[in-house]
Structures are given as C-alpha cells and as structure tokens.
C-alpha cells in the first residue's frame, strides 16, 4: 500500500484542510518512472532589490539547487525550466522556509503532481513532481500555497517545453509548427509594496484579514526588469534583423488586466501552450496588424511571431489596468514600454 498519510488522498477533506490546516506531507512520487531530466528548485529564497526610486523591495523566489551546478545565485523571477517534449521530468522541490508547492501551470499531470495542497498536499521538506510534457509551448511554474501572496511576491518562473529536433537545424515552437530564429520571454508583473512587507508565509490563512483582496501596485516590471528600463535592458530588448523570425513568449503574471500594443504587425501562433492553426476546429493562426491592442488577464499566454520587414525601433506598450475599475493602475502610471529594435 502506498503511504498517503497527511494528504487529501488519505485523509478527510474538511473546511479547515482547505486552507488553514492544509495537508502537509512528503510522500514518495507515486507511479514513479526513471526520469530523463532532473529540475531542482528550493523555496522560498528571499531577495532584496532596489527599485528605481531607491526603495528596497523584498521578493520571494525559487533557487536552482542542481547538485551538478552548485552555488547558483538567487534570482528574481525564479530561473526558467526548459525541457523537451516527451521527456520524463522530475522537478525536485525542497523547502527552506515553511511549506510550498510547485504548480507547473498549463502542464497537466496527476493530482499528486499538480501542486495544489487542498486536493493533494503541500510539501513539508521535499517532494519530486513527475510529468511528461505532451506538447511543446510556453508555460510557467509557481508556488500554489497561499497563492495570492506567494505568487505576487515572486515565486514563479518561465517553463518552456521545446519541440523535438526535426533534424533540419530549424527551431520550431512545436512539432511541424512555426519556425523561429531567436526567442524572447516577456512576462509582465507588478509589485504592491504593501504586500512585500508581509513576512508571514501563512498570512491570513486562518481567518485574519491581511488585505489580500486589495491590490494597488506601484511598480510595473517586465521579466524581472523595472519598467523604466524595459525598452533598453539587454534582458528584455529584442534585437532582430530584417527577415528574421522572432518568437515572443508573452505572459501576464500580474493581478491586473494587461493591455499590449505592438507597433509592428505580429502573428499569434499559440495560446496557453496550445497551438493554433493545426486542427479542423482551429484552422488558423491570427495575423494582427500594427497598433492593435491585445488584452491578457492573469496567467494568459500568447506565443507571437514577429518577422520585421523594415529597420527601425518598434516600441511595444503595456498597460496594467485595475480588475474592477479598468483604470490604469497608480493613477495612470501603470505602464511600461518594451521594444523590438530592427537593424
């Protein structure tokens, strides 16, 4: 018999196991296979960063603890996970401060490997999540404990599933899918500094009002880069040549309605890690003219191909809007500019 003690599989689900006394366990991985690839993450690691206005902001993140590449530094956002379609993947989570989980968002494994505590368990010391990505595409991963808080504080990173090599030297978003020469991951996210003063991992879980229904972000970021630098920082600046095909993996990781306006034409070839234009019920991709506004709510992703036909600077404008009033956050300052520079 497999040992499911202290998990939703072995115990009764009650009102209090839902949130306040959620299941905490470190079971063996059920139905374990020999993995093709190991991913190591430890959380929550704390990282203080200085905002452009000089304010110190504490972020929480996951650290890569791969024993084959020791002493990796702590980064925010958390380091990317990159695997290939069809690999058996083992994500080893260890926790340094209280229970956490990893939910591979958009990846669909068994319940025990899905990282949601109230229907399975949260990880006390360590657990190995097993999954085998069936589709290539753009996903992300994040902690699913007290998620409102842990996700906003930074416990997330990109998750890319690459298509298998088709032997012709071309990179493809997915098998037989669109080719690309270079790629960029753009994740829009925001910071409400009030939230970052909360140090209690369990804040609010047992009934205390800690104001997690109120979100007033003051900093707006792109893939870990402060918004004011996003259009030139090497992390986020897209440099392309005429005729080159750039894949942009776009994700909204903020609790805001994100509006994105490209000033060059684009083609959307996938959403949420699933391809467009390949099935009879979804026969086409979507060509979007320059200056069209796209809207993404939290966790939505688009995979976008940009194929510049002329040189120049093509700014990409992002606006972070309030989920109720639809006004631009921070009295209109909730914006940033990214850029595609074509030479």
């Amino acid at each position: 018999m497999f040992d499911w003690e202290d998990t939703a599989f072995g115990e009764e689900i009650t009102y209090s196991t839902f949130g306040c006394d959620v299941f905490k366990a470190d079971p063996q991985t059920p139905d374990r296979l020999e993995p093709d690839v190991h991913i190591y993450r430890e959380g929550a690691e704390k990282l203080d960063r200085i905002a452009p206005d000089g304010r110190r902001i504490r972020f929480w993140t996951f650290r890569d603890t791969d024993p084959a590449a020791p002493n990796q530094r702590v980064t925010h956002p958390a380091p990317e996970i990159r695997v290939t379609q069809g690999q058996i993947v083992h994500t080893h989570l260890t926790t340094s401060t209280g229970p956490h989980t990893i939910h591979h968002h958009g990846i669909e494994p068994t319940t025990a490997n899905d990282g949601v505590g109230h229907v399975s368990f949260e990880v006390g010391d360590g657990y190995t999540y097993q999954w085998q990505p069936a589709r290539a595409g753009s996903f992300f991963y994040h902690c699913h404990r007290n998620t409102a808080l842990h996700f906003e504080l930074g416990m997330w990173g990109p998750l890319i599933v690459e298509a298998p090599d088709q032997g012709d030297g071309k990179k493809r978003l997915y098998e037989d899918g669109p080719t690309y020469d270079s790629e960029m991951t753009w994740v829009a996210h925001a910071v409400d500094p009030r939230w970052h003063l909360i140090q209690d991992h369990d804040a609010g879980l047992c009934g205390l009002d800690v104001g997690l229904n109120r979100y007033e972000p003051k900093y707006f970021m792109l893939s870990g880069v402060w918004g004011n630098r996003a259009h030139y920082d090497p992390t986020t600046l897209i440099k392309a040549q005429v005729g080159e095909r750039v894949l942009i993996r776009l994700l909204n990781a903020s609790y805001t309605i994100l509006r994105v306006k490209f000033t060059c034409p684009i083609e959307i070839v996938a959403a949420d890690g699933h391809s467009w234009g390949r099935e009879t019920w979804c026969p086409t991709t979507r060509r979007v003219p320059a200056n069209t506004v796209l809207e993404l709510v939290t966790a939505q992703r688009y995979d976008i191909i940009v194929e510049p036909t002329k040189t120049g600077h093509f700014p990409v404008f992002m606006q972070f809007r309030h989920w109720i009033t639809n006004k631009v956050h921070d009295n209109g300052k909730g914006q940033l500019k990214a850029k595609v520079r074509v030479t």
Partner: protein
C-alpha cells in the same frame, strides 16, 4: 479554526429569509425545460464562507430557491412574471434576449413579459434598475436555452447550439468526441446535467450591502471606484462549499448546489461549462488537468458569438456581464507519463482545481486562501 455555523433556512424578522447551506434535494440528472416562471423579489440574508451574514436581494422561485436557474427550449413562448416584495423599485431583463424586459415595478407591484426563447445558449437575467447596484446585491441568475432537436450536427452529434448558428469548426469538434484518437470515449450529451455545469461568478462588498440594508439610496455611478469585494462566489458559494466532498457513490457528485458547479465524470465524458460574470470584477478563469475549448462568448452588445476558430485555453477572460461557454474534454490529462496511465499507486478520482487567477478572488474577508472563487473537477475513472 472554527468552521462557520450552519444556519437553517429560516425567516428572520418575519420577512427576511436566510440563504444558508440548507440541503437542496437531489434531483434527476436529466434537464427539464419550462415555459412559465413566477418569481418574487425579496431580501434575504446570505451567509458568507467565513460565517459573515450579508444582506442581499434575490429573485425567488417559490420560498427557498433563490436566483433560480431558468431553463427553456428554443422557439417556445416564455412568460416571466415578477412580483416585487422589496421596499424599493426593481426591474427584470435577460441580457441579449429580445422582449424579456419588464418595466420597473414599484414595491408590491407585479410585472410580466412574454417572448420567444432565442437560440441555444447561456444568458444572464438581472435587475437593470439602478444600473449595476441590484445585480451586485444578488438580483441575477442564469437563463439557459436548449436548442431545438438537441442542436445535432449532420453526423448526429448533439451540441448546445441551434443548427442555424453552427459552423464547420464547431461541428468538427463535437464530432471528434468518441471519434478522434485524442478523444476516445463518449460524445457530449445534451439534456444531461452531468454534462453541463453552471458557473456564475460574482463578488460581494459587504459595505455596499449594509448601505442598501440601511435604506440608503446608493448612486450606482459611485459604485465602481469604491467597490472593494471581500467575498468571491460561484453560484453564490465560495471555497469549500463549491464542491461535493466525501462521495460514496458517483451520482451524489452532481447533487445540490455544489453539484451544479463541480464537474465529475469518467475519462471521455466531455462537460460543458456555462460561465457568466454577474459581478464588477474581471475574472481569469483558470483550470487544471485539461485545457478547455472556447466555444462561444458574448460581445459588448450581449450577442453570443460562436467561435469559428476554437482555441484551447487553460485561462480565459470573463468580463463583467460577459458569458462564455467552454468544453472540458475529460481527456486523459496529457502530461501524465504515457507509461503510467492509468495510474496505479495514485488513486482515482483525480481532482483538479478551477480558480480565478486574479488571486485576490481566492480570499474571503481579506485572507482565508482559498475560500474564494474556486472549485474543482474530478475524473472518477479511466476509460
């Protein structure tokens, strides 16, 4: 932590009913359509997930059925009669349904309308009087239209849409179930509540409800800038209450108010998700376990647009007043290793959450994660 108290459905102060978790009688799984609906508008105290009591307004069908689901068949003559038993004027309209409007009813008055049921789909009825105010107070519900002849494709697959609205992509998808290597198992089944669930999202800011309870005449234009919801509901329920737990036999999964929310079935039993946002906050519905096919969504004029390019999403937007219909395929969760399907050490049912990814909506009373707009679906057996 103390579980909030269960209250009986009881009259308070002679006139105000209480909506608690009184057991709703279980019912047959086949749908029933009607043509005649008599509703009353009355105040009711609703208990939030943390035990807080909130004053609300409800359309009642009979004494103990608040915010009733109205279900009709395409093309039928439908009559809706509403009696206003509240102390303020109220109205009635089904957004996107011609002829459904009932003019403002003063306290004690009754209004009525007769109209032809439109094409198959999911609609939202509400009180339009004073803009969004009364909708947020609880005066809203679902109006569901079943298509004539179960909306069959030429190949004979049932769909939730009238044949006149079909397109080849929609038909291809419904024909794929049970016939495509990716979707072994059954087709989608019309008229079966095990194959369609209803998710009406809303939000509650108790300060607004208190002002209405105190008799204040709230200016609806002032609401959005001050609306700070503390409770996030699906069909009026939150968190733990949105799913049936401790199931001994499969059928009980579909019983009661939680059973109307929580999809449950075997691999290969696709389920329609009728999503409506009756609140003021935009939602980002996110589902685990399977991506969903986005079949249709309403536009800014409340018209239903059936997709001619059906996308698979794990997250979909739901604007205030918007309706969207998605199909949860109940396919083998694709990223379980093929060599370990079906799992042996890990037991069925496999359970996967659905929650709004604006995680603020996962709170209740400012904390209490995840007692907000969350539920889960379960796959009870492999094929």
């Amino acid at each position: 932590m103390k579980r909030r108290r269960f209250l009986q459905l009881s009259a308070v102060g002679g006139t105000i009913a209480t909506i608690g978790l009184s057991p709703t009688p279980s019912r047959a799984n086949s749908t029933t359509t009607e043509t005649n609906f008599e509703l009353t508008i009355a105040p009711a105290n609703a208990e939030m997930i943390d035990g807080t009591m909130v004053y609300t307004l409800q359309y009642f069908h009979g004494f103990d059925n608040p915010s009733p689901e109205m279900r009709v068949r395409e093309g039928k003559q439908i009559t809706v009669t509403v009696t206003n038993n509240d102390s303020q004027p109220h109205g009635f309209i089904i957004r996107g349904v011609a002829g459904s409007y009932i003019h403002t009813m003063q306290p004690g008055q009754t209004g009525t309308t007769t109209f032809t049921a439109p094409n198959g789909g999911t609609y939202l009825y509400l009180d339009h009087y004073k803009g969004q105010l009364n909708r947020l107070m609880g005066l809203h519900g679902a109006f569901i239209v079943e298509p004539e002849g179960d909306g069959k494709t030429p190949a004979g697959s049932e769909t939730p849409y009238s044949v006149a609205d079909h397109n080849p992509q929609l038909q291809a998808l419904f024909d794929a179930f049970g016939n495509h290597p990716r979707f072994p198992g059954d087709r989608w089944r019309a008229g079966d509540l095990r194959r369609e669930k209803l998710w009406i999202f809303s939000q509650v800011d108790p300060t607004l409800n208190e002002r209405v309870a105190a008799g204040e005449l709230v200016d609806p234009a002032s609401i959005p800038d001050n609306f700070l919801p503390r409770y996030f509901t699906i069909n009026g329920l939150s968190g733990f209450d949105t799913a049936n737990h401790h199931l001994e036999d499969g059928n009980a999964a579909h019983d009661g108010r939680a059973g109307r929310i929580m999809p449950s079935g075997k691999q290969g039993e696709p389920c329609l998700l009728r999503c409506i946002n009756a609140g003021l906050a935009t939602h980002a519905c996110h589902i685990h376990g399977n991506h969903c096919f986005e079949l249709a969504r309403s536009d800014y004029k409340f018209r239903t647009e059936i997709s001619s390019n059906i996308y698979e999403h794990d997250t979909w937007e739901l604007l205030p007043l918007q309706r969207a219909e998605l199909l949860l395929p109940f396919e083998r969760p694709p990223d379980i290793p093929l060599d370990r399907w079906p799992p042996v050490e890990e037991p069925f049912p496999l359970r996967y959450v659905m929650h709004c990814h604006f995680e603020l909506s996962q709170t209740a009373g400012g904390g209490n994660y995840p007692q907000g707009a969350v539920t889960h679906w379960q796959m009870t057996d492999p094929l």
